[in-house]
């Protein structure tokens, strides 16, 4: 009896492909649905209320919230992708496959990180396109990205960090409620208070000081700086901190892959 030889990189690419196919199969929920809420934000805040809201960081409000909404969509979807995939697998009982097959913890971590980032990217780019349409209709010109390289870095760093956080939370959770609680009570407030809709320059010094402790402030402002060239945060500081966030989230996710719960719900 002959047993075929196997290559280890193929295990990683298979898991990545499976995770991408999963969110594409339910594209209505994963890719289309986030665009509806973003379009409403743009219409209500960016168009209807824009004249009543003061310029933020020296740019008009529609300009200001487009990069914020791109960041919101990217981070939220990256988190959701990894966490919902793991939770559904726990429900179906096939998560234990990952323990049985010859995949290393790093391969599992990066497969989920890249899949979440790809989904976040797709939604983020779609949001940017919708934002451009709104901007062109409103002002008759395109909103030009100031620095593509920086934008790519902050999008990748944000997507990877939030995918890894989603993976960690889902592996830690013993039921649906725990994941939902972390998403609702921790991640969502951090995203919204991280400067998606407002500049922290306008805040009371006390709240400003608290905002500096919010890691999302750096990701969101990094994305905004890449788009518009304006930011509440020094971009080089944001770059270094996001590097640190990626490393921290990776170590946490790797640990959770090793010790987390694979038990069926």
């Amino acid at each position: 009896m002959e047993f075929p030889a196997a290559t280890s990189f193929a295990g990683f690419t298979t898991l990545l492909q499976k995770e991408c196919m999963r969110f594409i199969r339910v594209a209505g929920q994963t890719l289309i649905s986030p665009l509806i809420s973003v379009s409403l934000y743009l219409l209500i805040f960016g168009i209807n209320l824009a004249d009543k809201i003061a310029n933020q960081n020296g740019v008009n409000y529609l300009q200001f919230i487009i990069p914020g909404l791109v960041a919101l969509a990217l981070l939220n979807n990256a988190f959701q992708n990894a966490s919902s995939s793991i939770i559904i697998s726990k429900f179906h009982g096939d998560l234990q496959d990952l323990k049985v097959v010859p995949l290393t913890p790093s391969q599992i971590v990066w497969a989920y990180a890249f899949a979440g980032t790809i989904r976040g990217f797709l939604v983020g780019i779609s949001v940017a396109c919708i934002g451009e349409i709104f901007y062109v209709v409103q002002y008759g010109e395109l909103l030009v990205v100031q620095n593509w390289l920086q934008l790519c870095w902050f999008l990748i760093a944000g997507g990877v960090t939030f995918s890894l956080l989603g993976l960690s939370v889902a592996l830690f959770a013993n039921n649906f409620d725990q994941v939902s609680a972390v998403g609702t009570f921790v991640i969502l407030p951090l995203i919204y208070l991280g400067g998606v809709f407002f500049s922290i320059a306008n805040m009371h010094p006390f709240w400003k000081m608290i905002s500096y402790a919010n890691p999302l402030l750096y990701l969101i402002n990094g994305i905004r700086y890449s788009f518009l060239g304006v930011s509440d945060i020094d971009p080089s500081r944001a770059f270094l901190l996001t590097l640190f966030f990626v490393a921290g989230a990776y170590l946490l996710a790797r640990r959770m892959v090793q010790v987390g719960s694979y038990t069926r719900f």
């Binding site: 047993f3 295990g11 298979t14 049985v100």
Partner: protein, 300 residues
């Protein structure tokens, strides 16, 4: 040649309750080994340890010489596992699930093997259906196909026929025999003792986490059971039973005898005239009898 599976002093406790106690045994290449035991004996815990789902409290095991703790990846490549519980894969079709599972083992282009398994397990016509649309029996067969997709030399079957109909059970037996014929080593846990008796070369019996018996199936049955001789007489036997394990019901006499004892010797012992004997039937002991006897001895 390395042993397919060497279990070396494995202990496992949950909250100070010992579930496996100093378990040691070895599988021989190409055999079907049955691991039997009542519910809670520790069979699934052992399978979970062997497949990296649980860590042992102490001790270890080696799969073809690869330690499951220190050479886990190499060990995992050589084993296929059919879990006890049926799992679902809501988003994907049967063919996709098998391709993904194959890919995890590094085999991205393995459609020939997948087609072979789909055919063998009567799943070919369902290969484009979502797993959620399959019946319980089909899902069970898919689990077996998944476990075999990378052609592992060692297969762990954790109650593979639990809850399946008789026809499917028998077709799975035939398939297991084919795998055995191809040289695969198989560890089978089951509650169906007829299944173990039918398929297994050797049997290990677990009770409360301890291995209380390990031998060739035939020898285990031979050593732990009696033959039952049933004599139908032409007239009722009025005298008292001459042997302690003898049951008399009018003209029917049932006696358990040791395997080496002959019916002639028995009839002499009972002092029944030969012309009274209308019919003689002999029932050999089964694995079920051996299992019950063993558990009785152990719980005494």
């Amino acid at each position: 040649m390395e042993s397919p599976l060497l279990i070396d002093d494995i202990n496992k406790s949950f909250d100070q309750v010992e579930v496996l106690k100093s378990l040691r045994f070895e599988l021989k290449t190409g055999e079907i080994f049955g691991l039997l035991g009542p519910n809670g004996a520790g069979k699934t815990t052992l399978i979970s340890i062997l497949t990296s789902l649980l860590a042992p409290s102490s001790g270890t095991a080696a799969i073809f010489g690869n330690d499951i703790l220190t050479q886990s990846l190499q060990a995992r490549k050589k084993v296929g596992v059919v879990p006890q519980e049926i799992v679902s894969h809501g988003f994907f079709t049967v063919n996709q699930v098998l391709n993904f599972h194959s890919g995890y083992y590094g085999l991205r282009k393995n459609q020939e093997r997948i087609d072979y398994l789909l055919e063998k397990l009567a799943l070919a016509e369902h290969q484009n259906k979502l797993v959620a649309q399959l019946s319980g029996g089909m899902k069970r067969r898919l689990l077996i196909a998944k476990a075999l997709v990378h052609s592992p030399p060692l297969l762990l079957l954790d109650e593979p026929t639990a809850g399946v109909d008789v026809e499917l059970r028998h077709s799975l037996w035939r398939f297991v025999r084919e795998l055995h014929k191809d040289g695969m080593t198989i560890l089978l846990t089951t509650h169906y003792l007829d299944e173990a008796e039918e398929l297994c070369d050797r049997i290990g019996v677990l009770s409360k986490g301890e291995l209380i018996a390990l031998d060739e199936t035939k020898k285990l049955i031979h050593d732990l059971t009696h033959r039952q001789v049933i004599l139908t007489l032409t007239q009722p036997l009025e005298s008292k039973p001459a042997l302690p394990e003898m049951q008399v019901n009018k003209n029917i006499v049932k006696v358990n005898i040791a395997h080496q004892e002959t019916v002639g010797e028995l009839i002499k012992k009972l002092a029944i005239p030969l012309e009274w004997i209308q019919d003689v039937s002999i029932t050999e002991g089964s694995l079920e009898d051996a299992f019950v006897s063993l558990l009785k001895q152990h719980t005494r």
